[in-house]
């Protein structure tokens, strides 16, 4: 092979894609599910009300915090919105101390009476923490994002007929050609989406991945949390770099939240109320409360309406967006962060992004499958090392591509089957996910690949399609209530599960048919047969 630039890029694309493909696949898949995080939670905790008034919840929050943590230096409240009824309170006893948090009933202020479950939050956390101890999951996710980014650009270079084959997909050709067509089409059409997602993923945690600039530019402080600036949307974003108030200073009585709430409600109304309330430096003369409004029509996370109150007098200090004082770096960061989270997306755009996420997941999966189809004849006839490599990749492909949906289905089943009073119930749900995935790996290791594909895809299909049946057997009252109140979120979840199950069943059928028709696709014959379009990665 002549070592041209394009060949080098193809080589890089192949190996970068193979080594991190399994990880990228899992991250894309769970990340795509995260587009519907509150909706998944709604199905997994059906005891919770569908919607709660944010104003009412804010009043509850003010009362509960006043009882629970009157002397806390910092309060933070995440209010319910149109998609989520959750009210979560965070407080910090002193600057730099650990945050404590509690989810409370937004109406009564008492504990939440729903089954313990992480719901959609599980997929959200998995997709960048990978169930690893902090910060290793985030590092690994960063490596995966970088690999995806490299694979995208090397893929564009490797793909010779970028525009000419824009809409070309020939499922009736031999296996390798069809897979390559699909991989090309999915790659080109999701290129803007994938580039945006993988680049913004890197930018979100820039302070974790490249901490040195921040270290060099900020003077060292005792509790310097360098990795916090990239997490402005998470509760522990609290900037721990804030200099501590003098410990001996007397407690300055902070203003009550009630009148501020009334002012915010008067300005913003009930339907488009605040999403977060933050009350910092309580007990000092610098105390300040900030109300940040629910994401509106801006992409950037920082371009949201804010009301700032003096925390001692309770008077309104300013009413501008956080972005007005931002420099260009913060603007870019906020915009990319906002694009990645897509909180701005209404149901229509969210649906399209979900579709693109699934397509990008399929893109990664098709690349992994192609690696084995292309090399199977050569590797199977090769030495021990080559045969082991093929064996390993084939097994890992089955366990990741077919095993992950199976594990996700097991997670949903666990939600309905585990006893409601089981201690650490939410953890058991996660364990079921892990057990199912481990079982898929074991199964893939002992079964012949084609059988393993079929069996795991069919098992996943069965579990997803039967989800409404399981729901009718174990949580009939919620299903009936959803049906009679036309709760489309609840019913939509079940419809999506059934549709996905049907898709897996069709895939299982195709695996069997292809295997029966052409057990092995001879790679050497591909190029001449479909020339001139089948060059590059095939040759």
């Amino acid at each position: 092979m002549k070592a041209t630039f394009r060949h080098s890029m193809t080589w890089l694309h192949t190996w970068c894609g193979l080594l991190l493909g399994w990880l990228v696949y899992a991250i894309f898949f769970t990340g795509t599910a995260t587009y519907f995080r509150p909706e998944i939670t709604h199905w997994m905790q059906p005891e919770l009300p569908r919607t709660v008034s944010a104003v009412r919840a804010a009043q509850t929050a003010a009362r509960v915090l006043e009882e629970k943590a009157p002397q806390a230096a910092r309060w933070m409240v995440d209010l319910p919105d149109a998609r989520s009824p959750e009210l979560r309170l965070y407080w910090q006893a002193a600057p730099g101390a650990r945050f404590q948090n509690a989810e409370v009933n937004p109406l009564t202020g008492g504990p939440v009476t729903a089954r313990a479950s992480l719901g959609g939050e599980f997929f959200y956390r998995f997709h960048f923490q990978l169930m690893l101890p902090h910060p290793w999951g985030r590092y690994l996710a960063g490596v995966a994002a970088m690999a995806m980014f490299v694979a995208l650009f090397t893929g564009v270079i490797a793909h010779r007929r970028f525009l000419a084959d824009l809409f070309l997909f020939r499922p009736d050709r031999i296996a390798l050609r069809s897979w390559l067509d699909f991989h090309n089409v999915a790659g080109v059409l999701t290129l803007p989406f994938c580039a945006m997602i993988s680049y913004s993923a890197l930018v979100i945690f820039h302070a974790l991945y490249l901490p040195w600039a921040a270290q060099a530019l900020t003077p060292p402080t005792p509790a310097a949390g360098i990795a916090t600036s990239g997490k402005s949307a998470s509760p522990n974003s609290g900037d721990t770099t804030r200099p501590a108030a003098a410990p001996a200073a007397p407690w300055v009585v902070p203003a009550a939240l009630g009148p501020m709430l009334a002012e915010a409600r008067q300005r913003w109304g009930d339907t488009h109320f605040a999403k977060r309330i933050e009350f910092v430096d309580r007990g000092t003369a610098r105390a300040a409360a900030t109300f940040t409004r629910v994401d509106g029509d801006a992409v950037s996370l920082r371009r949201r309406d804010q009301l700032k109150f003096d925390g001692v007098t309770g008077a309104l200090a300013s009413s501008t967006a956080a972005s007005t004082t931002d420099g260009s770096a913060r603007t870019v960061h906020g915009t990319l962060y906002g694009l990645h989270l897509a909180r701005f997306a209404g149901p229509f755009l969210r649906g399209m992004l979900f579709f693109l996420g699934l397509l990008a997941t399929a893109l990664v999966a098709s690349g992994l499958v192609m690696w084995t189809i292309k090399r199977r004849p050569k590797l199977a006839a090769g030495g021990r090392g080559a045969r082991f490599g093929l064996w390993l990749v084939e097994r890992l492909n089955v366990a990741s591509i077919a095993g992950l949906p199976l594990a996700m289905a097991a997670f949903f089943w666990a939600n309905r089957l585990l006893p409601l009073d089981l201690p650490a119930r939410a953890n058991w749900e996660m364990r079921c996910f892990q057990f199912a995935w481990a079982a898929a790996l074991l199964h893939a290791a002992v079964r012949p690949p084609i059988r393993a594909w079929r069996e795991q895809l069919l098992a996943g299909a069965g579990l997803f399609v039967a989800l409404p049946v399981l729901d009718a057997l174990t949580a009939r009252e919620f299903l009936t209530a959803a049906g009679s109140s036309r709760d489309w979120v609840y019913l939509g979840f079940e419809c999506t599960a059934v549709a996905f199950g049907v898709f897996l069943a069709i895939a299982a059928g195709k695996v069997g048919r292809r295997a029966a028709a052409k057990p092995v696709a001879p790679a050497a014959k591909v190029s001449p047969a479909s020339a001139p379009t089948a060059e590059e990665m095939v040759s």
Partner: protein, 108 residues
């Protein structure tokens, strides 16, 4: 407006595909003449602009820009699947969708 945007996106990618000989041949059994190809591309570009305009009117320029990119990608993949399975069916959904969405948008 969102639906008109989506319909225009689909219409736009159909025009771009028909301006390419293999797809034109699959639909009309004949290669595409050069002038016709140019005309189809122009209509495609106009429809893309219309889609952008619809989404921006509906959701503001920031979210609208994201929406038009997503809609064009999603429409292009849908078209790809149709071209692979039922190439002769690609045109009428574009016409029906565009008319229906335009009717709904102006009625609203």
């Amino acid at each position: 407006m969102n639906w008109l945007g989506a319909a225009s996106s689909y219409g736009a990618v159909v025009m771009f595909a028909l301006a390419m000989t293999p797809h034109h041949r699959a639909v009309f059994r004949a290669p595409v003449p050069r002038r016709r190809a140019r005309g189809l591309r122009v209509i495609g570009a106009v429809l893309s602009g219309l889609a952008a305009q619809c989404f921006i009117t509906a959701q503001g320029w920031q979210v609208g820009t994201v929406a038009v990119c997503a809609a064009l990608s999603a429409a292009a993949f849908t078209l790809t699947l149709l071209l692979a399975s039922r190439p002769r069916w690609i045109v009428w959904p574009a016409v029906v969708l565009l008319l229906a969405a335009a009717g709904a948008a102006f009625a609203a």
